[in-house]
């Protein structure tokens, strides 16, 4: 068993781990109660799964032909970069379009924050109006 074979095995095991991770996230996708929690499963563990797999692929090709695939690296970088943003954007869209939280959720902090923001803005506006009034 030479080094290459070990690397190949490592790559394969990475891939299987990735597969398992992804299955876990899939189970999360089924079992979790609402879109927000499901998104955790989908984005985080799934991203990890992909990263593991791509890494496995990278290693495999390196072991096979000493080939360093720039594209694969770029892909890893890309997924790393975009997956969180995508998750963020979609969840924000969900929230803004009024998707309900699951019943067991205790607190909707974003909504509260928004309310606070609104109140502050209202307050500010009122103050401004007051100033204007006094100025006249």
């Amino acid at each position: 068993m030479n080094a290459d074979t070990i690397v190949e095995y490592t790559a394969a095991i990475l891939m299987v781990t990735g597969g398992l991770m992804s299955l876990v996230s899939a189970i999360g996708l089924i079992r979790l109660p609402d879109v927000y929690t499901r998104s955790h499963a989908a984005t985080k563990s799934s991203t990890l799964a992909v990263l593991l797999t791509l890494l496995g692929g990278f290693l495999y090709f390196w072991a096979l032909e000493r080939f360093i695939s720039v594209r694969l690296l770029l892909g890893i970088l890309f997924v790393f970069l975009t997956a969180p943003v995508a998750g963020h954007v979609i969840i924000r869209a969900a929230h803004r379009s009024g998707v309900k939280l699951a019943d067991i959720s205790k607190k909707d902090e974003l909504a509260e924050a928004k309310e606070r923001l609104m109140e502050e803005q209202n307050l500010e506006r009122l103050n401004r109006e007051k100033k204007n009034d006094s100025g006249v």
Binding site: L74, F78, L81, V85, H88, V89
Partner: protein, 140 residues
């Protein structure tokens, strides 16, 4: 309520850059690797689509002040003309030539007239996709 798109926009700028580079690379390497005019053009136009989605038409237009209809027309015309050129030179229509040249910096390089043809294809693809998307969007 003002949308807070800072994260999205920042990441998109980087991403678009990656996509554009990748698109050009695909276009150029198409002769020997997967890729080519079509795919290159499609990838480039998808970068533009991303820009349009993340930003807005007017902002993008400031950066890329192109009439995409004309880009498309120019591309398609280029593709047809590259074929016609061969005919004018006395070869069958659409004959392509290729050769290996020893260029100062690049070393021995393969140059083909297909590249011109492919450029036409890519430009058409970009122009058309953007024309379609912009036409629909401007009609809001």
């Amino acid at each position: 309520m003002k949308g807070n798109d800072v994260i999205l926009r920042t990441v998109s700028r980087i991403v678009v850059f990656i996509i554009l580079t990748f698109g050009v690379e695909l276009f150029l390497s198409g002769h020997n690797n997967p890729g080519g005019g079509f795919i290159g053009g499609l990838v480039l136009s998808s970068a533009l689509v991303l820009l349009y989605v993340v930003f807005d038409i007017e902002t993008v237009h400031q950066g890329v002040p192109l009439d995409f209809k004309k880009v498309a027309a120019f591309g398609a015309m280029l593709a047809v003309l590259s074929g016609t050129a061969a005919a004018v030179l006395g070869h069958p229509f659409l004959s392509q030539g290729f050769g290996y040249f020893d260029l100062p910096i690049f070393g021995v390089t393969e140059l083909t007239t297909v590249t011109i043809f492919e450029a036409g294809v890519a430009l058409t693809v970009i122009g058309t996709v953007e024309t379609i998307i912009l036409s629909i969007s401007k009609d809001v």
